[in-house]
Amino acid sequence: MNQNAFGLIFTGEGNPYMRDLTLSRAVAAVPFGGRYRVVDFVLSDFVNSGIRNIGLITQRNYHSLMDHLGSGKEWDLNRKRDGLFMLPPFSTKDNTGVYRGDIDAFHSVMQYVRHSSQKYLILSGSHTIFNTRFNAILKQHEESGADITIMYNEDARFNPEEQNRDLRLLFAEDGITVRELEWNPRYPRSNYRSCEITIIDKSLFEDLVEESYSRGGIDFVRDILLTHVHDLKIMGWRYDGYVARIDSVNTYFSHSMELLNKAEAGDLYNPDHPIYTKVKDETSAKYGANADVHNVVMADGCYVDGTVEDSILFRGVTVERGAVVRNSVLMQGVTIRAGARLDHVILDKGVTVTAGRALTGYEGLPLVFRKNLTV
């Protein structure tokens, strides 16, 4: 158990490549994997690592996050000492209530950081999904004497058209000390990408943030990590498990489809590291007499009497008789009426597709329909 670390998750980042999926919510609150939100994974990583003090910074559209996380009960984080702290923005004499960047946000929650009794801070973003424990990275951080340790993995995927918060690590000859960092590079020289997990001593974090803030620094990666890459001892910790970066509609779609392949995304199903989420008390999924379902991940509360193949069905989805759904992601409460046909489509919560409609996207261009729309 790592009693000597606490977590700070920044969920404020916007991302235009997520299109309609983040119209009314933060990336952290985007539904993923049939019954989860993106933030559930990193939050469960913290809990499964024995970390019981977690601050979650929200801004803009945080209603759905607040609603989802509540008191932190489902994560066992409704504790008397420590627990889950929601840190929404508030207006002060030097803050208008909207953060310019994460340094701004860190500065305004410094009270929480100072009051935390643990020595190490685990900083996390909220668009990277993986299922691990932070025990090993904390141990390395402690033993190596690093000022900052960044969790990374090897990821050859690169799409310059949809680059978002892409931090790459270049190592010295020892293979562990970071020699250089690249931030959204046009021509990346490294496939080692940050998993948005940064470990840093609390006191150093305080100094760096306050110093940078006073000079107008905005972005933690750009204005602190990149600035100090040569005068701080920054190290990498390699993670070889499954990592999903939800940084565009396309990556959202392709990572969703990877969930159908346990050999690929099996880490996310590790029974020793359960992923916690808000419980909805749905009944079991129900299959009708005409159901024809192949290669599908399906949550509770669904009713399927049609054909569904290679798809993800969230809680409470209905697929009526004669409807055909292929290669699609149907979020909570979606209804597909009789005879409708879907291929390569992402339907946000509560969308209804009326009888007989045909919607077809393509692998590199899945169609997205925003929340509660009727097609």
Binding site: L260, T283, V293, V297, G301
Partner: protein, 413 residues
Amino acid sequence: MMKKRIVCMLLAGGQGSRLGVLTSSMAKPAVPFGGKFRIIDFPLSNCVNSEIDTVGVLTQYRPLALNSYLGTGQHWDLDRSYGGVFVLPPYMTEHDGRWYSGTANAIWQNRSFVDQYDPDYVLILSGDHIYKMNYTSMLRYHVEYEAAATIAVLKVPMEEAHRFGIMNTDEDGRIVSFEEKPKQPKSNNASMGIYIFNWKLLRAYMERDDADETSENDFGKNIIPAMLNAGEKMVAYPFEGYWKDVGTIQSLWEANMDMLGEDPILDLNDPSWRIYTRNPVLAPHYVGKNAKVRDSLVTEGCTVKGDVKHTVLFCGSAVDEDTKVRDSVVFPYAKIGKGCVVHKAIIGENAQIGDNVRLGEEPKEGEVIDNRLTGDIVLIGNDVTVPSGAVIPRGAVVTQETLCQFVNGGANA
């Protein structure tokens, strides 16, 4: 302390011996039901949905399993600062201590639990029925009729009335007589084992009953007849809807099957009356490329690669490739291997069925099966490992002990 208007006492007592090996390690109310639930979730959820927030659960059989299942009650929204859910096993005092000798005695021994809330009414439930009921409507009825006791009744088919406690009423719904399992029933108003009493009055009757050495300290046998004889005003509250005693293997199987079909007689997917349960933390279920699933219930943590029809799969269960499952109930975390054929079976929690196993076969000639508890249903006990290639006839009860008579080709045991 603030007073509570009504407190619920849930009789979860029984070992449920008619459920055989399913209750060898847990009390009947903890038996799984309907894909996600345990039997006790039904009375508890009914309480919460009826805005009754103080529930005592009376048990003397393996209280640990029930205790750890209920926890703080948070899954039923019963983690209250005043009230909530409490497991009440028998206990010792400085004078004496004894097992619960009957249903009424269980309440009597815990009178101080009820007294601390100073309630006007007490609701008595039994923990082995599947139904959705608004107890507050029943309480309203009780108050309106100014009754001393109200007993919920259900119209059952006349030809089955002899299996129930029958309440004979006058035209106003007042109970005039009560017969336990009558040979010649006068009416078909079956008692559902759901009572509301005025607490002070019940307390007085229980005190008298406790002093009576000959009494069995039972509600049906002693308390209710005594109140009727004394001329107390007792009324029958008519209930309409699904209600099933799941105290036998046959009825447990039937009640699970009642959830299937296009317009099921038991529909639990009802947002206005949810049944709450302790949710396992499991991923959504996965249906494989060559799977075939029809007319079934499947829930979180399941993996289905075979052909499943008219079946209820519970959380974490798995059906492997080339396996056919029909008309069955597969309890949590049970796994069925490749190439199996399963007909009309209840497979216990965490049971492991090997490859090419056949369950529910025609018995071989001369094979004698003890099916007194099971009828034509195959019952695989909790945690039993059935080795590959085994052939189990219908009606058989398979435990780790009886397993050898089915796998070594021996039908003579």
